[in-house]
């Protein structure tokens, strides 16, 4: 018997972006589009550029309809030239614009790596010229998109210094954070997890000045026994694991970093003070991944509160594999999370 699989394996396709439900619920995809739209309306210095974002509306349809509303001067379809897309964002920001550059997949940010890590990240420190640039793109796996359409590039660009790296997990956070990123005077990288785009839906604020601050984490579920510190799509796996653990009388707290660099140490350490046990869960690789930084911060700064070793749960540093059996084994699963939390709570 064949199982139904999702159309458009990488999570995209020609389907329209869709609309809010009548009671005001919006997907992550819609919420991001609303945030972009509102900021384009609010500030005429904001413009967007990227591959296939205009006529086609973007590979994932985030920018569907933007060209009609804002015109080809503010919604620019570009050649496939990522270094130049970043360079164009830098140069126009130096001249007073607030560009938003879309990467069709976050994987292709590495095609612009030098302009991002050398130029974008280092202009302000060396010259004092602010670069209000947003680089955005779909990241992450869980959609059978394999090695070149599933990357979590946040560690590379966090290491660059000088770029704020934002990885929201919920529609409201995504909307509030994309708006904050556009209004921020520093370079921001906004990573949209493609698994979340059309799967997670919630009530999303409609006030035009609804913002979520950058570098602010949020406790998404309160608990007493173990803190699961995570971000992106793994937040949803952590919440599912916490539900399962509750049935076994293990109370897990889920902390969503929302911004991975610079991250909100205070909220993370506050949670550890309460639970005394930390599972650091990330979809970025284990070695030199975001989890490594969070875990070492906890070990350094909350040692006296810990009752157990800080544990990391992350994929190994290998390319994201395609076959469903391989990708599922590669990614931290709900069962993996439950298992690690149980071990921690036994300390």
């Amino acid at each position: 018997m064949s199982q139904r699989v999702e159309a458009g394996a990488a999570g995209h396709g020609a389907e329209p972006r869709g609309k809010r439900t009548e009671d005001g619920q919006a997907t992550y995809l819609i919420a991001i589009a609303e945030g972009l739209w509102e900021e384009m309306e609010r500030d005429e210095r904001v413009f967007m550029l990227g591959e296939d974002i205009g006529v086609y509306g973007g590979a994932f349809k985030v920018t569907e309809g933007f060209l009609d509303r804002f015109g080809s001067q503010r919604v620019i379809d570009t050649p496939i030239a990522e270094e130049s897309i970043v360079g164009m964002a830098i140069g126009s920001a130096m001249e007073g614009f607030r560009p938003i550059a879309e990467f069709q997949y976050a994987d292709f940010m590495t095609s612009g790596f030098d302009e991002i890590s050398t130029a974008l990240a280092r202009v302000h420190y060396r010259s004092g010229v602010p670069l209000p640039v947003v680089l955005r793109g779909p990241s992450g796996g869980m959609v059978r998109a394999s090695s070149f359409h599933s990357i979590n590039p946040e560690p590379w660009f966090s290491y660059a210094g000088g770029i704020k790296v934002i990885c929201p997990a919920f529609p409201s956070d995504a909307k509030g954070l994309i708006k904050s990123a556009i209004r921020d005077d520093n370079p921001c990288m906004f990573l949209e997890h493609k698994w979340i785009y059309r799967r997670i839906r919630e009530q999303v604020p409609e006030e035009p000045d609804f913002l979520v601050p950058i570098s602010s984490a949020a406790v998404k579920r309160e608990g007493d026994d173990v803190s699961i510190v995570t971000y992106g799509a793994m937040v949803h796996r952590a919440l599912e694991a916490a539900d399962a653990l509750a049935k076994e009388d293990v109370s897990a707290e889920v902390v969503d970093l929302r911004t991975v660099y610079p991250f909100d140490e205070e909220t993370v350490l506050g949670s550890i003070q309460k639970t005394s046990r930390a599972l650091v869960l990330s979809e970025s690789y284990r070695f030199v991944g975001i989890g490594a930084e969070v875990a070492s911060t906890i070990a350094e700064k909350a040692f006296e509160h810990l009752d157990a070793p800080v544990v990391r749960l992350s994929p190994p540093n290998v390319p994201v594999p395609f076959s469903p059996t391989l990708e599922d084994a590669f990614l931290p699963s709900v069962d993996d999370i439950v298992g690690e939390v149980q071990k921690l709570s036994a300390w």
Binding site: A81, S84, M88, D114, A119, H124
Partner: protein, 354 residues
């Protein structure tokens, strides 16, 4: 329609092109850039200058010539070898020297050194980065901004022959031509990418002819003749300013010194170097020309030279009197909101440090 050609030297005297005062200013700039380059190298070899140096000697005709047609509000995106172009655009020699000595009054407040310099808020020059041609795509963005705002400003980017082998060079030319952006692409072809000669850098006879592939005009000009370079640049700048789109200028010279101060450049054939230093010296040739045409006399040349030497000494004294940055500030200025760049920096660092 795109054209690629080698610019033929114009007929007539210098006076047919510029009034005497401007010709004297050009001579001053050429001689200043030469003197600065020589003195900085001497101080480097004496162990009195920290960091590295990237000599632009022999290429002053290119550097001064391309910048002359730019307005103060046009932007310039040069490389570490183009300090002379930055000086022509208006950098203050005192602050340049404070930068070379890592002092707080340098344009980067000691966050970078030598010709990794720029003054965006003042002279509209990019703070140079090493990964060439990293600023070519950035110039594209400045030009796009002028287009969006309806300004008649022009962006000019300079790189060397070496950087034309990099993908970004082609990306930037391609996109600028698609969008007809107001930008001038300059290649300072000094014949060597570090030790690699032109023959191993590109398979076509000239860089200028590559413009045809991007449907833009390309011109090859003799970099030893500052007025010829100026004329080619003026044509390209005016074309960009009037909506005619981008152009490519290849200005040919020779790098007289090594890639950086440590490099003796023994890979450059002696005859080639002798020929350029003897026949194609952009500074000496222009001086001889103005003397021959009676624009200046020997006394005026001496006066110009004296002024340059005084200015250098003043700059040197200024640099050494400027404090080093305060060590505790080393992590400041990363984010806009920490306020480092919008406030006066601390001046309590030492003036002696090694």
């Amino acid at each position: 329609m795109a054209t690629t050609r080698t610019r033929e030297p114009a007929e007539g005297t210098s006076r047919a092109r510029f009034p005497d005062d401007e010709l004297k200013r050009i001579l001053y700039l050429l001689k200043l850039c030469r003197y600065f380059d020589e003195r900085i190298e001497a101080l480097y070899r004496q162990g009195r200058l920290p960091g590295a140096i990237y000599s632009g000697r022999g290429q002053e005709g290119t550097h001064v010539g391309v910048v002359l047609p730019l307005r103060p509000d046009d932007s310039l995106f040069p490389t570490h070898r183009d300090l002379s172009a930055q000086i022509t655009k208006g950098l203050d020699l005192k602050r340049v020297m404070a930068q070379f000595w890592g002092r707080i009054d340098g344009y980067t407040r000691g966050r970078d050194g030598n010709s990794h310099i720029g003054d965006w808020s003042g002279n509209r020059t990019w703070t140079v980065m090493s990964h060439l041609p990293i600023a070519y795509p950035v110039a594209l963005g400045a030009a796009q901004a002028y287009r969006m705002r309806g300004d008649d400003k022009v962006a000019m980017a300079i790189c060397g022959d070496g950087a034309t082998s990099n993908g970004r060079w082609h990306e930037a030319l391609n996109w600028s031509a698609i969008a007809k952006l107001p930008v001038v692409w300059v290649v300072n072809n000094n014949r060597y990418a570090y030790s690699t000669p032109n023959e191993l850098e590109f398979p076509v006879p000239t860089i200028a002819e590559r413009a045809a592939a991007y449907a833009m005009p390309g011109v090859r000009v003799d970099g030893s003749d500052v007025l010829e370079v100026e004329a080619a640049a003026r044509e390209a700048v005016e074309r960009a300013r009037s909506g005619g789109g981008p152009s490519l200028i290849e200005s040919v010279s020779l790098r007289w010194r090594g890639h950086a101060g440590h490099d003796p450049a023994k890979y450059v054939p002696k005859e080639l170097l002798d020929d350029h230093m003897g026949q194609k010296d952009p500074v000496k040739n222009f001086e001889q020309r103005l003397l021959g045409e009676g624009v200046v006399d020997e006394d005026e040349v001496k006066e110009i030279q004296g002024r340059i030497e005084r200015e250098f000494e003043e700059g040197y004294e200024y640099a050494l009197a400027s404090p080093f940055p305060e060590p505790a500030d080393h992590a400041k200025g990363l984010w806009v909101e920490d306020g480092y760049w919008t406030s006066e920096p601390g001046r309590n660092g030492p003036t002696e440090y090694s």
